[in-house]
């Protein structure tokens, strides 16, 4: 439908393109205007750069791991080059430090802050229709805390490495002579960064919704962010205390975790997983939110079961607090405790399954355009389904006895964390890239990156399920020769995955140089962030936006003449003659 064909009595609304002065990237210039910015969008962009760098480092470490495991006796770190690098270290030590740093950086510096902090900061206020978050200064400080935490991790790496695994299990972590204190202090600081972000979002969503933005008119990404923030605020302090206790144990031998001083090492595991299991949902819930948006927008269809998805986010956030014990089925808990944890673990799988069914139902009879974000969203559903279903093997007690701490677990959580969170993150970046930077990227390049990432990822981690069920323990620097073929496959897959990620990076960066100007609403979405120009102006909206149903696509029309989506609305009289009779199905009471 072209603009000319708009029926009488309707008018076309299209914010057009921003002028150079009115977009947040250019309204003030100079490095200091970024460093001291209080604009949530700039903070979001800085986070995006930061977490991407962290991901790059951790990803290269992952490639190192896979290359090392190419041969049963270890290939990479037995090389002459590494002997020169670390003359008094055994090759196994280098491997142990590499996998530890891979895990610690990925979890603490990338996966946890990626979607909530980088994309959440950019999107939450705009989607909500607010000018900024509730506490802009707290927001900026959370970013600099993230930087400080990252600095501590780098210092730990440069000092004497870290070889405890990202979980810092006692009593190994209280006895090893590597930089445990530096790294745990880094994680402690990062915890504050995470708490501040969560606190900010909770207050923002509770208090800064514009008129008309009822709870049930919020986009599902906001529901996901809200649930995530609840976990961040409630669970992270436990990690902080645990890490402080660990430091106290190391320095003062207070005797909580170390059996040598009458401590109990399993207590540490309880404390640690009381945070870190909910943290798994900090990692995946925002991804659920992203996918709900992506599937709905690129299918041009109302999200199916809005309320079920919204409630299931909250349910996951709450149930996620009750299942930490499933990390310790083999640690020697009482039988009844173990069985209860197993039962609770199954309950948390139900809301996740609901979401998958709802996404599929959303696609049913939609008008699906296979854009890059949609390709990533489809990849997400495929990979997350595998990740979720293999969780059943691990939640079931008898099979967990066999599979715990093997490659089956490694494969399972990589399917959830990488196949889930990372793929959702990439989909989200491609989806909101035009909004963030005002440029369109090469669509074909983006689709190719999605395909390579999908294939590379499966080739990397499918063999690991088999490795695990055949008994290959995790965190091994060397392994029995019978596992070699599967490890080789996995390593080739990792290289392919690396290429896919590189393609994605090149496509995005190239768009900044020679991308077409992005229209306000390139996908035909109905949420508020698409109602302002791309990139958004400094204060997001000229005047308070008119809040409608976030999934009502009926009045978003493709305008062939100007090659973009526009919003078609009934002409407003200065005094309306009559109010529209029907209200959106999700409108709040």
């Amino acid at each position: 439908m072209s603009v000319g064909s708009v029926p009488a009595g309707y008018e076309v609304k299209d914010p057009g393109y921003p002028t150079p002065e009115e977009n947040y990237l250019t309204n003030s210039r100079g490095l200091l205007t970024w460093v001291f910015t209080l604009d949530h969008k700039r903070i979001g962009v800085m986070y995006l750069v930061g977490v991407s760098l962290a991901f790059l480092v951790a990803g290269l470490l992952a490639l190192g791991i896979r290359l090392h495991l190419f041969a049963p006796d270890g290939w990479l770190f037995n090389n002459e080059f590494f002997k020169w690098l670390a003359p008094d270290k055994a090759p196994n030590d280098i491997y142990n430090q590499v996998f530890t740093l891979h895990g610690a950086i990925m979890v603490f510096l990338f996966i946890i802050p990626s979607i909530p902090a980088a994309l959440g900061n950019f999107l939450v206020p705009v989607m909500l229709g607010a000018k900024d978050v509730a506490f802009p200064r707290l927001n900026l400080s959370s970013f600099f805390l993230w930087v400080a935490g990252a600095v501590f991790f780098v210092m730990a790496l440069l000092a004497s490495g870290l070889d405890t695994g990202w979980t810092f299990y006692t009593p190994y972590s209280t006895t090893t002579d590597t930089s445990v204190i530096m790294a745990t202090f880094g994680a402690f600081i990062l915890g504050f960064s995470s708490i501040f972000t969560g606190l900010n979002f909770i207050v923002t969503i509770n208090t800064m919704r514009p008129p008309g933005m009822t709870w049930f008119r919020m986009p599902l990404f906001l529901w996901a962010t809200y649930s995530t923030s609840i976990i961040q605020v409630l669970a992270t302090p436990v990690l902080g205390i645990t890490l402080l206790l660990l430091i106290a144990e190391r320095t003062m031998h207070i005797g909580i975790f170390d059996p040598e001083y009458n401590g109990d090492p399993v207590t540490y595991q309880h404390f640690f997983w009381f945070y870190s299991h909910p943290a798994v949902y900090i990692m995946i819930l925002p991804a659920f939110g992203v996918i709900s948006e992506l599937i709905s927008v690129h299918s041009h269809k109302r999200i199916f079961g809005y309320r079920f998805i919204a409630y299931s986010s909250i349910a996951i956030a709450l149930l996620g607090f009750l299942v930490w014990g499933h990390h310790m089925f083999t640690a020697g808990m009482g039988p009844m405790t173990t069985i209860i944890f197993s039962a609770l673990t199954f309950t948390v799988s139900v809301p996740s399954a609901i979401k998958v069914f709802n996404w599929l139902a959303t696609m049913y009879k939609g008008a699906i355009t296979l854009t890059t974000p949609m390709c990533y969203a489809i990849a997400f559903i495929f990979l997350f389904t595998i990740g979720g279903l293999t969780g059943l093997h691990l939640g079931t007690l008898a099979t967990d006895m066999h599979l715990h701490d093997t490659y089956f677990v490694v494969a399972h959580f990589h399917y959830v964390m990488v196949g889930g969170t990372l793929v959702a993150f990439l989909g989200a970046v491609f989806h909101w890239w035009p909004k963030m930077f005002g440029r369109m990227y090469n669509e074909l390049g983006g689709q190719i990156s999605a395909l390579i990432v999908f294939l590379g990822f499966n080739l990397t981690f499918l063999p690991q399920f088999v490795l695990g069920s055949r008994g290959m323990p995790r965190r091994y620097a060397t392994y029995d020769p019978e596992f070699a073929a599967l490890h080789e496959m996995s390593t080739w897959g990792a290289l392919l995955l690396g290429i896919g990620l590189l393609v994605a990076l090149v496509v995005l960066l190239a768009s900044l140089v020679n991308g077409k100007k992005a229209p306000a609403n390139p996908w035909g979405a109905a949420t508020l962030e698409w109602a302002c120009t791309s990139p958004p102006p400094f204060y997001n909206f000229e005047r308070p936006p008119v809040v409608g149903d976030p999934y009502e696509f009926g009045d978003i029309q493709w305008d062939g003449a100007s090659d973009r989506y526009v919003k078609v609305e009934p002409k407003r009289e200065s005094v309306p003659s009559e109010t529209p009779a029907e209200s959106p199905a999700h409108a709040g009471e």
Binding site: S342, M374, H393, S469, P473
Partner: protein, 387 residues
């Protein structure tokens, strides 16, 4: 998830169609059954989801600007069905899983009892009467109970073929049991073994379990791994499980290792203890710095202590270091060695000291030729002949 696609890689498993290692205990078939049940349920759901996912993506693919055919956004009945329906399958999984777990946790009366000591980085299986050996030997058809503790950090004992795993935690005892069903075959004759042992003695190599796939006694074995990350040599912390057909067979094997035979020299027996009792994971005999000081050129020499003093490494110092390792810490090393008090007989300690002395040709004792040993790996070094 499709076994047929991956089976060409299943080289060492008994059945080429299996995802699993050999099945050798009473737990194996139960665990595999539940695993397969869950896998089939998961596969059914997965296939349905994938068909819907890609099917919808292709069928409803539309050119840009088209409107969706329908905007239906909820159907409470369907949503309740797909929320509650699969929960019944979850209950079934949970039930069988918990039942299997309780079987793991219910140790039968009158089990054959063994002690397990885990340390960085090895296993000591206690057969009683000072017979401690890194290999786990059990009897087929008889329930075996392991009482396990760790001397340093958390380890985890895992026998894939038995489908059992339990963390070994310092400061407490953890228990597990299993009933092995498939006895290990004896695959090498005594002559072959003697030849291999002679060859190893020549090159001073330790027994290559992975390469030979049988134990120094000629038995085929099952792998036993540590699965809780425990530092530098975590991935080398492996041993083997041998299942004997009868109790007599096992007792004969234990007897073979019970003490030094009358004809064996203490130094030679000490070398066996060095291999067997975990000394070699921390102390080299070629001068390489591992976790602990090397034994090469140790006996009789003066050595600096962490406290700043120095001490002559005589028999008394060596004995004290074995029984009370934290009393005098060598400079440049961490105080991490566990005490062997109560774990070695006087003769064992005597043999170890004689072995250490034999590694220093200058020290008192039957000194013999000094073979070059510089720069070689642990296996390839010379050992002072003591026999």
């Amino acid at each position: 998830m499709i076994p047929a696609a991956i089976t060409p890689l299943a080289d060492y498993t008994e059945s080429k169609l299996s995802f699993f290692p050999e099945s050798a205990s009473t737990f194996s078939s139960d665990t595999d059954w539940i695993f397969n049940f869950i896998s089939i349920v998961a596969l059914v759901f997965f296939i349905a989801i994938v068909i819907a996912l890609f099917g919808f993506a292709l069928k409803y693919k539309k050119a840009k600007g088209q409107q969706a055919e329908s905007q239906t956004d909820h159907n409470t009945t369907i949503e309740l069905v797909w929320s509650i329906g699969p929960s019944f399958l979850l209950i079934v999984m949970f039930y069988f899983g918990a039942q299997g777990f309780l079987a793991h946790r219910t140790i039968p009366e009158g089990s054959y009892e063994l002690g397990v000591d885990a340390y960085k980085w090895g296993w000591g299986i206690d057969y009683g009467k000072f017979v401690i050996h890194p290999e786990l030997h059990v009897v087929a058809g008889e329930p075996t109970k392991l009482t396990m503790t760790s001397k340093d950090v958390i380890h985890s004992l895992y026998i894939p073929a038995f489908r059992v795993k339990k963390d070994v935690v310092p400061g407490r005892f953890n228990y597990m049991w299993f009933k092995a069903t498939q006895p290990s075959e004896k695959v090498a004759t005594d002559e072959e073994l003697a030849q291999l042992a002679a060859k190893d003695a020549e090159t001073n190599a330790s027994w290559d379990y992975d390469g030979r796939q049988f134990t120094p006694d000629g038995y085929a074995f099952y792998d036993l791994y540590c699965t809780e990350y425990c530092g530098t040599n975590h991935s080398e912390m492996q041993t083997v499980v041998v299942v004997h057909e009868t109790r007599e067979d096992l007792d004969a094997w234990i007897k073979k290792y019970s003490s030094r035979s009358a004809t064996e020299s203490p130094a030679s027996y000490g070398e066996k203890l060095y291999q067997r009792r975990g000394c070699k994971s921390c102390h080299s005999i070629d001068g390489t710095k591992l976790v602990g000081p090397s034994w090469k050129d140790l006996a009789g020499k003066s050595r600096a202590l962490a406290s700043g003093e120095s001490v002559v490494a005589d028999e008394n110092y060596l004995r004290e270091s074995i029984l009370n390792p934290k009393a005098k810490i060598a400079a440049g090393f961490q105080p991490v060695m566990p005490s062997y008090k109560g774990q070695l007989t006087d003769d064992d300690i005597y043999s170890l000291i004689e072995y250490i002395k034999s590694l220093n040709p200058d020290a008192a004792g039957p000194a013999a030729g000094e073979q070059p040993a510089e720069g070689g790996s642990e296996e390839a070094t010379a050992e002072a002949p003591a026999e």
